[in-house]
Amino acid sequence: MSLRTLPLLVINMGGEMLYILDQRLRAQNETDDKALRGFWSEEDRKRVLNDIVRTMFSKAFLEELMKPQDLYSHKALRCVLTRLAHTSIMRLNPASMDRLYDLMTMALKHQILLCPRPRDFLLISFNHIDAIREMVTDSPSLVNQINDAQRQIIEMYTPLSDGELQLMRQTLLALFQDFHIRVSIFLKEKIQNPDGRFVLSTSGPVPHGSEVPGLIRWFNSRGREVRRREFPSGGCYTSAVREGSFDISGDRVTRLGKNKYSATSAEDTRTSDTSKNTSKAKQESVGPNPLAKEELNLLAKLMGGMEVWSLAQADTGIRVNLFPTDEDDGGISVGTDEPSFGVINIQATKDHQANTELTRIAAEFTEQQDQPEGPSNKGDDLLAMMDDL
């Protein structure tokens, strides 16, 4: 549908990812387990975040995203986000990346759904960008990079009509359709129901530009109001609040898109799939993916010049728990036939091998990958390889 949705999708998903990674890496320093505490220093954490932000807001990356194009498939989107997460010295194994992607997806779905009017999605994006800018505030060059990117975003999106912005929102809702993964913190805060669906309020301020429901007005042929009458509207709405700022900085007014993880514990980010609906949604369509070529160009750009750490030589790394084990089920119980959470590890090492050739990477990972389904060609192999990272 809309061909302009990808940049905002990646920035918002990336933003959620940074929130979670930041919180988890901080938590490592606060853990009671003396054996694990202190592995990720403040400096390490900042380095990881800076590296990710540098790639995410790089000119080349954004330029690629801003080309008019359909949204990536979930598979390709995950690849891109995995690659972003691995820009630095930190590595997440597939299970961690799964959980992370689930969290990002549901957080963004919630924000898009609750967006009072389509234009507010820009404010949500700016909330993410503002928070990211805060995270890298020590690095003036990164702040400049972010500001440049934000100027481009403002230029690209603020002139769009409400109808075009709604089309963008509908495109994103299509991407997130049928995802009902339950997230502990959402359940706890009562923004998500036990069946995975989000709570939609019928009270509060109406969106900017709307009127509180409940009034009918009649006009004469000269346009003058001649009569008015009220009707019971149900719900409990109040007038719109002031509009958020669409500038580089300013009060965005909405809280959607702000960092909700800063005060949370690891337990709060536990997720669980709700049976069939989610697995159905995660099945990619069986037809050939016409986007594969564009996605690969982007991925190749990202991979080129980046140092790669070989998973095959993992023994030098120290395992760090990103999320807790499920031995202590703190209270949110989920369906009996749900898979258990499992331990999520970050395999991290500060030593890394410089290896920039794509062919060498492919050779190292090929033994580990399953046979790809569907037509086997170069493109699919690269994507399949990326999935194993």
Partner: protein, 355 residues
């Protein structure tokens, strides 16, 4: 005939209103409804005691046929088409039945083109491919907005603002594109044809776009533009035309009633707290249905007297579909005795009948 209890007006708690409708058993559909305007179409087939429903999910249309005794349901799925490929991943924007005197056709509009089927979805009788620019621009390409007009036209809107007029013979597949109307410059959102059944109405068709502009037309060998009613910079997402009155639902949650030919605004309703996704009218009784992202479906009563130029609208009833952004709401019959509702991410068609 129908009977309804007048609600207690001015009462803040809608639960205490006399219940005009009650919820029936929902119809399960094979996949959930997508967040698209007017995402429910209903066709009543009295001779066979059946009602058909269609709900769009991504590149598929879920079609259910429900027997009136509630005992038999049968499902069919139609897919979007593209070029020479029978099935495609291109997204469907809307599906709607077009009721013409001699035949009913099911029309699907997608990112690639327009498909027309026999009313039971069994055979595709016509395919029209949309022109796509050689180099992709930022402007999305799709068809949206479907209306059957008078005896022989089916009109479909396009994202460029064009309205395609198709000439439909009484049977067979010799459907032709007879005219392209170029008045809108923004993407068409919805279209509606006069549904009162009266032959006295001058205006046959109204089209709306993302800027809220409404164009009022008279059909014929050449369609004639009767009026252009400017928008107020807010998208009009759903439209009806009844007894010459345009009923328009907007992204601001407002409903406006205009006299089609003159463009005079009769009334404005602050109807919903979020974007309106669907309007429908029961032509025999003047009941109006409105539904929005705010989870509410509202029933109103319209009284229009063209002779005295008076338009009366009265609010009758509210129904809240909890935690659901409604994307389709339609009456199941011409009296408004029953209506059906779809919501984003819901895999069911919720039904209500007068109590």
């Amino acid at each position: 005939k129908f009977l309804y209890n007048k609600p207690l007006s001015h009462h803040p708690n809608f639960n205490e209103m006399a219940k005009m409708y009650h919820k029936e058993k929902s119809i399960q559909i094979k996949s959930s409804a997508s967040a698209l305007y007017n995402n429910l179409s209903v066709l009543r087939i009295a001779p066979r005691c059946l009602t058909y429903f269609t709900v769009v999910h991504a590149n598929v249309v879920n079609m259910v046929s429900a027997s009136w005794d509630g005992l038999n349901y049968s499902h069919r799925q139609l897919q979007s088409k593209e070029g020479n490929v029978a099935t495609s991943s291109s997204l469907i924007m809307q599906a709607a039945w077009c009721v013409l005197p001699s035949r009913d056709l099911l029309v699907l509009t997608s990112q690639k083109g327009i498909q027309m089927y026999e009313s039971d979805g069994s055979i595709m009788v016509y395919w029209h491919a949309l022109e796509t620019p050689e180099t992709p621009t930022a402007q999305a390409v799709f068809a949206r907005g479907i209306a059957a007009v008078r005896e022989k036209y089916i009109c479909v809107g396009v994202s460029s603002g064009s309205v395609l007029v198709f000439d439909v013979p009484s049977k067979g597949s010799n459907i032709t594109l007879s005219e392209v109307l170029e008045e809108h410059t923004e993407a068409i959102t919805d279209m509606a044809s006069e549904c009162s059944g009266s032959m006295e109405c001058i205006a046959d068709l109204v089209s709306a776009d993302d800027s809220g502009l409404l164009c009022v037309w008279k059909s014929g060998g050449d369609f004639q533009l009767l009026n252009k009613i400017p928008g107020f910079d807010t998208s009009c997402s759903s439209l009806k035309l009844w007894k010459g009155t345009v009923i328009a639902g907007y992204g601001t949650g407002q409903i406006r009633l205009y006299e089609g030919v003159t463009g005079i605004l009769h009334a404005e309703v602050n109807a919903h707290a979020r974007w309106i996704y669907s309007l429908d009218i029961a032509p025999f009784t003047g009941l109006l249905l409105s539904a929005a992202e705010d989870s509410l479906v509202r029933v109103w009563h319209l009284t229009i007297t063209p002779e005295t130029n008076s338009v009366e609208i009265e609010h009758l009833y509210n129904e809240c579909v909890t935690d659901t952004q409604i994307c389709g709401a339609k009456f199941c019959d011409g009296d408004g005795y029953a209506f059906a509702v779809t919501g984003y991410d819901l895999s069911e068609i919720i039904r209500y009948t007068q109590a």
